[in-house]
Amino acid sequence: MSTTAERTDVLVIGSGFGGAIAAYHLAAGGADVTVLERGPWLESKEFEHDYKLGSSYTRAFDFTVGDGMSILGGNCVGGGSVVYFAAMPRAPRFVFDRQGSIGRRMWPQAVSRETLDPWYDRVEESLSVTRQDWNDVSYAGGLWAAACNHAGRTANPLAVAIDNTKCVNCNWMMAGCRFEAKQSLLVNYLPAAIAHGARIRPLHEVQHLSRTPDGSYRVHYNVVHDDDYRLQAGSGVIEAKIVVMAAGAGATPVILQRSEAHLGTMPRAVGRYFSGNGERLNTAIIDEAKAAELFGLDRGDGLAYAANQIGKGPTVASWDRLDGSLPEYSRYSLEQLYFPPGLGTILAQVPGATGPSWFGKEKKEILKQWTSWLTIFTMIEDDNEGVFGPPPATGNAHRISQQMLGRGNLRYDPTKNTLGAWAASDAEVKEILEKDGLAKVMPWTNDLVGAYTVHPLSSCRMGDDPHTSALDDSNELRDHPGIFVTDGSSVPGALTVNPAMTIAALAERAMPGIVRAAQSRGISVTYGAPAPDGSTSGRERVLPLLPSARG
């Protein structure tokens, strides 16, 4: 390791939504930007349809088992956007007034649906988010909509960041989109950031931060082996005037915990208040004859459904419970989803099992009906129960397998509120799908890896109260000026919908403030870049809100 640290104006940790958006705006504004990403940099042609360990699926995806909660997330340049399913709803209005476990509003006063809407607009433009129609909806989504309607519910095709002209409905989104149909950050913010001079270094895992005498930061990283992430291939340090942390809600607080010895006391909320976005899954085994009889379903080849393998993740959600007049912990969305074999099969339970419910003879029988499975994803309001224990030796997990599988230190013991909301949503999924014999339904077991989330949130959250939030309303880490957090860890609590849109909007919202902080530290940078493709209507809406931001 060199004794002289490299220097950059802005060091961004992580290249998912929070990191890519920051890298783009700061580079486009004139700052010298370096991005450290702990995962590999995969190009579209490297995205494979292959479950073999070592394929793009396991290289780009991380599964971190905790105590009571397991986190699934991206681990590559582009972060979660590479492996996510591109559902991009805005969070409903009531979410911003949630009180959660603290008995008063969790969100900063400055953030509401109304104040966030212009930033949602920017993201919608930048990621080409479009409202789907019924012709875009997969067989699985259509079946879910039909079942909802049959049970007296509404159902909505989702807004998504997918170019349907390129999509082949292969359902391999979690391994990266080979066809560039999914509007991951690899096709918008990141190439635009690079065009403006940002440097992205893959396989660089940040371990901790320290401070220089002049108030800048030194970012300490290990280089990760490109195939076997258990191995390290070096280490280094980069010095930066501003640090933007966006390593994901499962990693950002761990880096900060490890930095405490060097930076001084961290805000109390670092590594607390973790939310799994209230996520829960149910698997239904559809009676094909009933699907044909009840809804007249016909794929044109004699099959009513049998289409679990076909589609593009979630396409339809039921939002009847997203009603702000209902009490907290009773509001949730129910969304059709696809989950690949492996992770998506072992936790599924046999309806009415007489023996073991998640393995064995009866489980094998339902695996034989896999094409007739319909997966329903529930997002309730959880209680921010998650707390991170002491950091592991490196990274955010002790890595077990060469890729993908690790053991982390997150503990999550669901409260009565969370358990009650899961039970209520399970009962509703069952009611909808078992009506008139359409299906047999069981929730996934939480006995094996605890609860699980594909949308980790809130472990370094923003708020107005220093006791219960780690960031102020500009995403700056309390008592550590010049460190900003812009990933899912900044979101105060569960959103009842897919959070990517909100994470991205909050990151967009944070940018003018980060630019101002950079300017005050002598960096020559301005705010005001258009969308990555040059579109300007989103920018035109937010600029009037920021009269002094253009430097």
Partner: protein, 196 residues
């Protein structure tokens, strides 16, 4: 336990066989298959068609990419110890010529794995991990290239009914939608398709 078994002439099974038979019996409990030959002891034979063993569970477990490979000897020893204790508790008389876990009938093997994977069991994490990889051998063939496994008639992928990919190993579905309006939209939907 292993050396004990190896040294006992009556039991006859060499260490390698003990390890293989025990892991096969464990994998077969997770996803059962049919016996490969008449006196197949590892596979309980409670199901037709291939199970985790035929799907390649041992190949996957012994691959260093999993990270579980180095712990397999310990897991074999432990599960046989647990099986002996279980047999004693249930007053069973296990056949001494095979490892104790293999000597259990399928319902007892399943009951023991249930016990080992129940929240609160001190070794739960290891048995869940072992079970996870056994399962993955069957339902995602994580030790094989997926397109090739499909081509070769992998028992798990075939049983689950995955369709064949195109010639380039990629899946594409031309037909994917009923194209029907199945439900009313939520009344509070914004113009861009979000909840209000």
């Amino acid at each position: 336990m292993e050396s004990e078994l190896r040294d006992d002439n009556e039991r006859g099974a060499p260490a390698g066989d003990i390890r293989t038979m025990t892991l096969e019996a464990y994998a077969d409990t997770i996803v059962p298959g049919q016996k490969r030959f008449a006196d197949d002891r590892a596979i309980a034979g409670v199901s037709t068609g291939g199970g985790a063993v035929q799907a390649g569970a041992l190949e996957l477990l012994q691959w260093d990419a999993t990270g579980i490979h180095e712990g397999l000897d310990d897991l074999v020893r432990l599960v046989n110890e647990h099986a002996l204790a279980y047999a004693t508790e249930r007053r069973l008389a296990p056949d001494p010529t095979v490892p104790p876990f293999v000597a259990l009938d399928y319902p007892d093997r399943a009951a023991l794995i249930q016990r080992l994977t129940t929240p609160g069991h001190p070794e739960k994490e290891f048995w869940v991990l072992l079970s996870l990889f056994c399962n993955m051998a069957f339902d995602s063939a994580a030790h094989l290239n997926t397109a090739q496994a499909m081509e070769d008639g992998h028992p798990g992928l075939e049983a689950m009914g995955l369709s064949m990919p195109d010639a380039d190993g990629l899946w594409r579905f031309k037909d994917y939608s009923y194209g029907r309006e199945f439900a009313r939209l939520h009344p509070d939907t914004t113009s861009t398709g979000s909840p209000a």
